[in-house]
């Protein structure tokens, strides 16, 4: 059966059917994005932290906007070319449109990658240090790990009845232990390698024994044949003390804490959340004490500049001034001399400097080793960092999916509809118009996303 009214207008609506279809779809799409923009308003109004403004890479976002606008022009030109039967031109315009989509997504991937590698560490006094984790010689990030050594004993708790927390050393302990297949001795002196089979046998025997003794749970103690080392992300374990570590299955290991300090190559000190920014924990002698004069000089420079430019305005109420004066960006591993802290007016360049991008790009950052007790929270720039990054990834991610889908449809027309182009160009023109309408909608969403997430 043929789909009716693909070329000619249906008498009652005056339109070919696909056009009604795409507009109904776009109406539902508007609602989808409308809901998310509404969420953006709520999250922004409810944010208890300075909402990031100009924190993303504005230059990259700007070029992506230009790329999308250009592709919007080329897709409508492709449609006009088919209408005018200029088939060669049509192919060129359509190809440019699809390439633009590729460029857009490539830039987006650069932006996402920079976010994933960039970290924010909130200190106990509210200071936020931004920066990168150290890298090995192959430019792989060395992630933050709690390191334990001299692990001699594992203590496993297995409830007799099924329970939410039951010892599962194969899944939760062994992956964090250094070296292949560590060997343990059981209470009765048998030497085992902890794998699924060995643990099943061990736990079955222990549960049977506990059942016979009328206990609720069995405790199994394993002694390491040679002292072991373990390393785990803080999120992969329940907790630790100086001489014991508890894994997420409740298994406790006796050992010695080797290292729980975080190494961070700091590229920014955000003291907006601190009552006395000069005395921020970041300027502790262990950390960035040497930067304090430069920080103070930078703040005073910006405040003086603000007072000169806007003598009547309230300094406390300017979010821009707060950011410029209290969010200090570090560009070198040696602290600048206090009087040269603001060499010339770096206003524009500084404001344009991407907070996330430019990683490793010739920059050399001071390495700071932060005590675990000074850290309240840390995360890379992903949805878990704050509500801004949550809505940023949701909106741009969904928009990116639309770019990919739209580009695939247009690419399909270009590659597989060659015969239709020759034999039924009006039908293809209508298809392109419908695909183009979707493509313009994607551009339209970006027109709002760019200022809301990058600029304002």
């Amino acid at each position: 059966m043929d789909i009716p009214y693909t070329v000619h207008a249906r008498p009652d609506t005056g339109l070919y059917n696909a056009k009604i279809g795409i507009w109904l779809f776009l109406a539902s799409e508007v609602m989808l994005f409308g809901g998310l923009f509404s969420a953006y308003i709520f999250l922004r109004l409810g944010a208890d932290y300075p909402w990031p403004v100009h924190d993303l890479d504005v230059t990259l976002g700007f070029w992506n906007t230009i790329v999308l606008i250009a592709s919007s022009v080329t897709v409508v030109m492709a449609w006009a070319s088919v209408k005018l039967r200029r088939y060669g031109q049509y192919k060129i315009y359509m190809a440019i449109t699809v390439i633009c989509a590729g460029v857009f997504m490539f830039n987006k991937s650069l932006e996402y990658k920079a976010k994933l590698k960039h970290y924010a560490v909130k200190l106990t006094d509210g200071t936020i240090l931004t920066g990168h984790m150290p890298e090995d010689e192959h430019h792989n990030t060395i992630p933050y790990r709690i390191k334990f050594g001299e692990i001699t004993e594992l203590s496993l708790t297995i409830p007799v009845k099924k329970s939410a927390i039951t010892a599962d050393p194969v899944g939760y302990v062994i992956p964090h232990i250094e070296g292949e297949a560590p060997k343990f001795k059981t209470a009765d002196g048998k030497e085992i390698t902890l794998d699924d089979a060995a643990f099943a046998e061990l736990s079955a025997a222990a549960v049977e024994k506990a059942w016979a003794e009328g206990k609720g749970s069995a405790t199994v103690k394993l002694t390491a044949v040679t002292p072991l080392k373990a390393a785990a992300k803080p999120s992969e374990i329940f907790g630790y003390t100086a001489d014991s570590i508890t894994f997420r299955d409740g298994t406790t290991a006796k050992g010695k804490l080797l290292d729980d300090k975080m190494t961070l190559l700091v590229d920014g000190i955000d003291a907006r959340g601190v009552a006395q920014p000069d005395k921020s924990l970041a300027f502790d002698h262990r950390y960035l004490g040497a930067w304090q004069p430069a920080f103070v000089a930078n703040r005073e420079h910006h405040i003086a500049e603000f007072e000169e430019n806007y003598p009547t305005r309230d300094k406390e109420k300017s979010a821009t001034l707060q950011k410029e004066s209290l969010f200090y960006k570090i560009h070198s591993s040696t602290p600048p001399a206090a009087d040269a802290a603001h060499g010339g007016d770096k206003h524009g360049a500084e404001a344009h400097a991407p907070a996330e991008g430019g990683h490793g790009g010739g920059h050399d950052y001071p390495t700071v080793v932060i005590d675990k007790k000074d850290i309240t929270f840390f995360s890379n720039f992903t949805p878990k960092l704050n509500t801004y990054y949550a809505i940023y990834f949701t909106l741009t991610g969904l928009h990116g999916l639309h770019v990919v889908a739209g580009a695939l449809v247009l690419l399909y027309f270009l590659v597989f509809n060659g015969r239709m182009l020759r034999e039924d160009p009006e039908h293809l023109a209508n298809r392109i118009e419908v695909g183009g309408l979707f493509w313009h909608f994607v551009d339209l969403v970006w027109i709002f996303l760019f200022p809301l997430l990058y600029l304002l």
Partner: protein, 108 residues
């Protein structure tokens, strides 16, 4: 729908002009975002006005909404109304019983 050849040829020029206008307004948006207006709220307002203007150019010219059949406008009326509701929904969040004046009236 502009179906005859002359009209399409004319509109090609229009599309290029609109494309250039959109780029110009993008530059303006970026520039305006660095201008320190009395409050940041004003920056947001101005930025959104420019963005809405750009969006209407895309909708009216590229999406041909300046000359479309009535059935499409009838469909879109519902969308516009519902999206407007979504955008002002935040206002109701201010009616929190904990802070809403009329809720806890102290008896005199």
């Amino acid at each position: 729908m502009s179906d005859n050849i002359e009209e399409i040829q004319k509109s090609i020029k229009k599309y290029l002009i609109i494309g250039a206008l959109l780029i110009v307004f993008t530059v303006i948006t970026v520039w305006l975002s660095y201008v320190e207006l009395p409050t940041h709220g004003l920056n947001i307002l101005v930025g959104m006005i420019v963005a809405t203007f750009k969006a209407s150019l895309v909708a009216l010219i590229f999406m041909h909404l300046n000359h479309e059949k009535s059935v499409i406008y009838k469909t879109l009326v519902f969308t516009v109304v519902l999206v407007f509701v979504l955008f002002v929904l935040f206002y109701f969040s201010k009616m929190d019983p904990l802070v809403f004046d009329g809720f806890y009236k102290l008896s005199e």
